[in-house]
């Protein structure tokens, strides 16, 4: 067949403009590996934009942003742990009850036994770890399906909460404890129109982020691996800078960085690093991807699963503390449906029902999608009945899109 094509005067093999692969190719390759996560990031941006317009700009006002963080902090904390459990190929239905139980235990320790709040916090985290280890033992070492064990845990800890509190709310808490949820970084330095520490912290985060990017790029290049073309890399840096600066200024123009955000930031960085770079993180992915193959490769899968659930227990305890601090009470009704929100966040954020896939950042993005939807719909006056319907559809659409995408990719 005769093909008409425009052949340039020079050699037909003339390189394309600029060195290296084409921009589109690089972008496509970078995106292909993480369609779900980038997809959800774009979706999150669109949802934010939509509600920003819809609420006449209320959504992104400093006060509302702060509210959003404080309202969703505990779900995001749970989502991080849940993501790890799901990556390992399991599920945890007990986290809402466990959060309530731990909140109640902390309340009893502080209010009834007058323990200093830091002691109560420490005690609560230990209780969470023990509860997680208890469930992890049944799941990892006795081979009982996690669905069953944590369903039992859901009842167990809910009942335990009611026993501890004897059906009553226990309140109030010391100021220090309350500030876990409602506190901010302290005001220091000269009076400006912005919160000084927040601005400094924002700058520090920006500096570290850029440093990391540059170092990572240099290392990748040093190992002779392909890196983003310089132009694209600079664009990426510019986007990061813009995002960090905008977010910092938003927070700094109100009360500054909430304590919850600090906790979340630390968890995101810590667990993100753990799952990406540590041996145990890698083993978690391997178990979720193909447990039999992982075992035959020498992965101690029982121990990894046990630790994933123990960790989930600690994070559920932390979430329970944050929630109790926010309510300023330990109540028997705390944490109802938290597990479902956390599971939904993990799946929206890119987890796979069969395990082996997902990132900590994804859990946060998924949690934020849900959080912004909640917040935005409340602002425009959508009733909670319709809110639930819409959230259900979003979950289904997110996972359905991913399954469709994978099938099309022929995997």
């Amino acid at each position: 067949m005769a093909q008409t094509e425009i052949i340039p005067d020079s050699s037909p093999k003339a390189p394309q403009a600029g060195p290296g692969p084409s921009l589109g190719g690089v972008l496509a390759r970078a995106l292909r590996g993480n369609v779900r996560q980038y997809g959800m990031l774009v979706a999150l941006a669109l949802i934010v934009l939509l509600f920003q317009i819809w609420t006449d700009g209320i959504l992104l006002q400093p006060l509302n942003i702060t509210n959003l963080i404080q309202q969703n902090g505990y779900i995001l904390i749970l989502a991080i742990g849940m993501m790890i459990v799901i990556i390992a190929g399991h599920i945890d239905l007990s986290v809402g009850s466990l959060a309530a139980f731990v909140g109640a235990a902390a309340a009893v320790m502080m209010v009834k036994h007058h323990l200093p709040w830091p002691v109560a916090v420490l005690g609560a985290l230990v209780i969470g770890a023990l509860a997680g280890a208890w469930q992890g033992f049944w799941i990892a070492y006795l081979g009982i399906p996690s669905f069953i064990v944590t369903l039992a845990g859901m009842l167990l800890f809910r009942g335990g909460t009611q026993i501890l509190l004897q059906g009553q709310s226990v309140a109030p808490f010391p100021k220090g404890f309350q500030s876990i949820s409602s506190g901010f970084l302290p005001e220091v330095g000269p009076h400006t129109n912005y919160h000084n520490l927040t601005v400094l912290l924002g700058l520090a985060v920006l500096a570290v982020a850029i440093l990391q990017e540059v170092r990572g790029r240099r290392q990748t290049a040093a190992y002779g691996l392909e890196v983003l073309p310089l132009g694209l890399f600079l664009t990426k840096l510019a986007v990061i800078t813009a995002a960090v600066v905008a977010f910092t200024m938003l927070l700094a123009s109100y009360h500054g960085v909430p304590i919850v955000l600090l906790i979340l930031g630390a968890l995101l960085v810590g667990f993100g690093y753990l799952m990406r770079n540590s041996i145990i993180g890698r083993h978690t992915y391997a178990i979720g991807g193909n447990e039999a193959a992982a075992k035959l490769s020498g992965v101690k899968s029982k121990r990894v699963v046990f630790l994933a659930f123990t960790n989930m227990g600690v994070l559920a305890a932390l979430a329970g503390l944050v929630f109790a601090a926010r309510l300023n009470a330990g109540t028997p009704q705390a944490g109802i449906n938290f597990e479902l929100e956390a599971i939904a966040a993990a799946f929206i954020g890119g987890a796979s029902a069969s395990g082996g896939v997902g990132t900590v950042m994804g859990a946060i993005i998924g949690g934020l999608v849900l959080g912004v939807l909640n917040n935005g719909m409340s602002l425009v006056g959508v009733g909670t009945d319709y809110q639930q319907v819409i959230k259900g559809l979003v979950l289904l659409a997110a996972v359905g899109f991913d399954v469709y995408n994978k099938r099309r990719a022929g995997s």
Binding site: Y223, L225, Y285, A286, G289, A293
Partner: protein, 515 residues
């Protein structure tokens, strides 16, 4: 005798990259027991799947005539309606339903969707009498032994008004007593006019029940032999089964064989669920440094079970045996222990047991020795990618980058990734289970070269393979296994395909003592 009940003419079936059947002919006379023989991968199962409609009409070439009429089965149901029923080696019964429920599963005695228990139970009892199974129709399948389950399968086939019964390795999981009963039943059914195709490795059984035998090799019909009243010699069948051409190129090597590196002594393993069954029975073997040793055996001989059990007791229940490395006894109770002692096992089933298919090449390669690219528990992903990149070059893994998901690779390239993983772990002893199964000839030759290099580096290599030419081309010494036992040890110079096959089909009929 009447004309043929079944004629399969010029059946060809292709899978991507492999021609599984090529112009196969099979004729089964009405009322006869017809045996099909062939090595693993000769195409026996594929042929039966074509016949029973597992591979529907249109997905193969050729013609099937059943009782003189052409057949175009869309699925198993269609073939069963014509009276062709296949009983697979892995029985397809629902363990927590009763015998009666299983017998009529999908074929219920019912009107308008409501089951008539009366008819179900009386009919089931009648069928059980017919197959000689003395159990209540209410008994749960889970409470029956494998032998009785096999009889339930046959009762189920009878319920479907079977005219041609196909049995795939029916006695592979049975003890001698149950095997004898089953073979008697087959002869009895034959007397009732039911034709039967039996796939079997056990030549003495074939000689006992079959009227004729068709031998397949490499997807082709080699011959059909009528077994007269005087019987048939096993050698005659063996001669037909082997004799694959030695066309593959094997690397030239001058083995430098050192001292004994790896020994297994009296290794005995029981079945993970059915503890009465001994899967590996007192197996002993040894491999020297720089030596490539083969294990030959047919399906169910216990080769994989032996290897996996030695490798961290990954299969079944260990009952007895010792492992020695350089003369010193070592513990290999868990996989990490085995790896720690420098043992590597490259699994037969790379998709289920070898790879994390949703992860990329680099992470698969590093998995069993992550510590080598990590410091203080932190994986250096750059180092990891560099290692993977070097394997991609040396092993010639065809993939755009080391960040390609292994699930998208071809079988040969997947196998190279698994091999890379274990070479990266730097073992002293490598156990390779069917290292070239299902991969193309080019990749096979590359893998042979890698295996030869590993031996040249002084590693002890144990190769399990179903392809005799492969073992003869690659190994310095070959063990044969049958029914869980090591039945022979042959130096390459003395080995022929016939001599190996004779050892591989040697059944220890006298030794079924309960332990």
């Amino acid at each position: 005798m009447a004309g043929p009940v079944l004629e399969m003419r010029s059946i060809s079936k292709e899978f991507p990259g492999v021609k599984a059947l090529s112009e196969v002919n099979l004729t089964v006379a009405a009322g006869e027991v017809h045996a099909i023989c062939g090595e693993n991968g000769a195409g026996k199962s594929t042929l039966m799947k074509v016949l029973s409609g597992v591979y529907p009409h249109g997905s193969y070439e050729g013609k099937i005539l059943f009782e003189g009429e052409p057949c175009r089965f869309r699925d198993i149901r269609a073939s069963e309606q014509r009276g062709i029923v296949i009983i697979h080696q892995e029985l397809a019964l629902v363990p927590y339903l009763s015998i009666a429920e299983n017998v009529f599963l999908g074929n219920e005695h019912a009107s308008r969707g409501i089951i008539s228990w009366h008819r179900t139970l009386t009919h089931a009892a009648e069928l059980l009498r017919q197959v000689g199974l003395d159990e209540s129709p209410h008994t749960r399948i889970a409470d029956l032994g494998v032998g009785k389950q096999q009889l339930v399968e046959i009762a189920k086939a009878l319920a479907k008004k079977v005219k041609l019964l196909i049995l795939d390795e029916p006695t592979a999981a049975l003890n001698d007593e149950d095997s004898r009963k089953l073979l008697d039943l087959i002869l009895e059914l034959k007397a009732q006019g039911i034709s039967c195709i039996i796939i079997s490795h056990k030549l003495n059984e074939i000689a006992r029940v079959a009227d004729s035998v068709t031998i397949l090799r490499d997807g082709q019909t080699i011959e059909t032999i009528a077994i007269g009243s005087e019987g048939i010699s096993e050698d005659r069948i063996i001669r037909g089964m082997v004799g694959r051409d030695l066309e593959h190129r094997y690397p030239e090597r001058t083995p430098e064989i050192g001292e004994v590196a790896f020994e297994v002594e009296d290794w005995t393993v029981r079945h993970p669920i059915d503890q009465q069954r001994t899967v590996v029975d007192g197996a002993s073997l040894s491999v020297r440094r720089g030596e490539i040793v083969g294990i030959a055996g047919l399906m169910g001989a216990g080769r994989t079970e032996l290897a996996m059990s030695v490798f961290g007791r990954s299969y079944g229940r260990w009952a007895a045996g010792r492992v020695r490395l350089h003369g010193r006894e070592i513990r290999t109770r868990t996989v990490p222990e085995a790896i720690g002692h420098g043992i590597a096992y490259v699994t037969e089933d790379r998709k289920q047991l070898g790879l994390n298919l949703i992860d990329d090449i680099s992470r698969n390669i590093s998995l069993s020795a992550l510590g080598k690219v990590a410091r203080n528990g932190r994986v250096n992903r750059h180092e990891e990618a560099k290692v993977a990149e070097s394997f991609r070059h040396t092993m010639n893994i065809k993939a755009p980058t080391v960040f390609t998901r292994t699930g998208t690779l071809s079988g040969g390239n997947q196998q190279k990734v698994v091999l890379s993983k274990w070479i990266f772990a730097e073992p002293e002893v490598l156990i390779l289970d069917e290292p070239t199964r299902g991969i193309d000839i080019g990749a096979k030759a590359e893998i042979y070269t890698v295996i030869a290099e590993l031996a040249a580096q002084g590693k002890a290599v144990l190769v399990i393979s179903s392809e005799l030419p492969e073992l003869l081309g690659l190994c310095d010494r070959i063990y044969t296994m049958a029914e869980g036992r090591i039945t022979g040890e042959v130096a390459r110079a003395d080995a022929t395909q016939e001599s190996l096959m004779r050892l591989m089909t040697m059944s220890a009929a006298s030794s079924n003592e309960q332990v």
